[in-house]
Assembly symmetry: C2
Homo-oligomer: 237 residues x 2
């Protein structure tokens, strides 16, 4: 049976309900296609919206930062957060001013973050941070020192609720009056892609790009590249 | 004299202070390079993080949505919001596990949104919605009807405070121990680009692409394209 996140007043789409999906598979695939999310949280009544790297393990999302950062300090207290990833896919140009749209995919998650305090789990997640976008790289680089690990905090949030929204169709709601308007209509695709790797100025030219770097093919879509890396690494696909 | 946003406990960078900028020019240029932002706001103590289209006029940011949406209804009450735009520019691969980073640009704004109630201002902003990414298109398309306008709400937020953060350099904090590690290091660029326009299936093939569509050159960077469009339209550059 398809697994679904519970639908409550918090995550239920109030409008455009045909765009909303609550199934775990859709939400997880969107998370696995993203490197950066935005996290909303509240400190003393003031909302903050902070961009950060994150990754997923099972039904958790994990992110990290300096132990001294405002975000990490506030979130360590187990406060409510809302974590969102968004992909802009195209501009939809129509013949009626108000029918213009963008095609996009987004996933909005709700839950409470907890600080990872267990040293083994923290060490594991500190390696996963790299592993989740550069598989195998932990074995190639100088490992984190105990002091470096101490300076970082890792937060884990079980996903209590989630909603994915997808708009992926051409112009809608056009009437014949619109169809006769002599103006170009269609879609302008927007794509986030990988560029050609630029070596560090101190790199010994005899050192080749490893298989971790080779995952990022020049010109490939970032979302597809990340999803492929994560799916290859996991047993849940 | 260079204009700066006031620095208080709310927008002051707590760490990595060398990455933070508070000058109006840097913040506005980042806003003008973006189409989508994420907005954090609070409803009954629960934070939400919602992606939305937005645009800037002078020191205000403006966004819109269905009059019935949760976000618009909540924000119409003049609550605090935090609006963030983020650009991921590259993955920075280093020789030490904990020195990996991403190069990025982000701008975080603080203020209180107000509903635009004046009918003339609302009509003007409804046209600016298109004008800000498809200049001249309002004159080519079927205008919004009074009913369509009634169904939409527009919010305006004067920017009270802001902070821009920029990381744009190679690996840092490497020691000679790192330099001798035989692993590829460097940057993998990430770029959001415009694709080739796809005509609507109902488009009369005799209708050419107008100058609004031609702004989006196949393969151009989206941030640079938007900044160019906005700078051409404004007197404040």
């Amino acid at each position: 049976m398809e697994q679904q996140y519970p639908i409550t007043d918090r995550n239920k789409a109030k409008r455009m309900r045909e765009r909303a999906k609550y199934d775990v598979e859709t939400v997880h695939a969107m998370l696995d296609s993203a490197l950066v999310c935005h996290i909303a949280y509240v400190v003393d009544g003031q909302p903050f919206c902070t961009p950060t790297l994150f990754w997923r393990r099972d039904n958790n999302v994990i992110w990290h930062g300096s132990a001294g950062s405002r975000m990490l300090q506030a979130q360590s207290k187990g406060i409510d957060v809302c974590l969102t990833v968004t992909f802009l896919d195209s501009l939809v140009l129509t013949r009626g001013a108000f029918h213009h749209a963008v095609n996009y995919r987004s996933a909005m998650l709700f839950g409470r973050a907890t600080l990872i305090e267990d040293p083994e789990e923290k060490l594991f997640e500190s390696q996963q941070l790299l592993e989740n976008f550069l598989p195998g790289r932990n074995e190639l680089v100088v490992p984190a020192t105990p002091l470096e690990l101490k300076q970082a905090s890792f937060l884990k949030m079980p996903i209590d609720q989630a909603v994915a929204k997808i708009r992926s169709y051409p112009a809608s709601h056009e009437t014949s009056m619109h169809r006769n308007q002599p103006v170009w209509a269609g879609e302008i695709p927007i794509e986030t892609r990988v560029g050609k790797p630029v070596p560090c100025e101190f790199l010994d030219p005899r050192v080749p790009r490893g298989p971790d770097v080779e995952q990022y093919r020049d010109g490939a879509r970032l979302d597809e590249t990340l999803l492929k890396i994560r799916r290859a690494a996991r047993k849940d696909y």
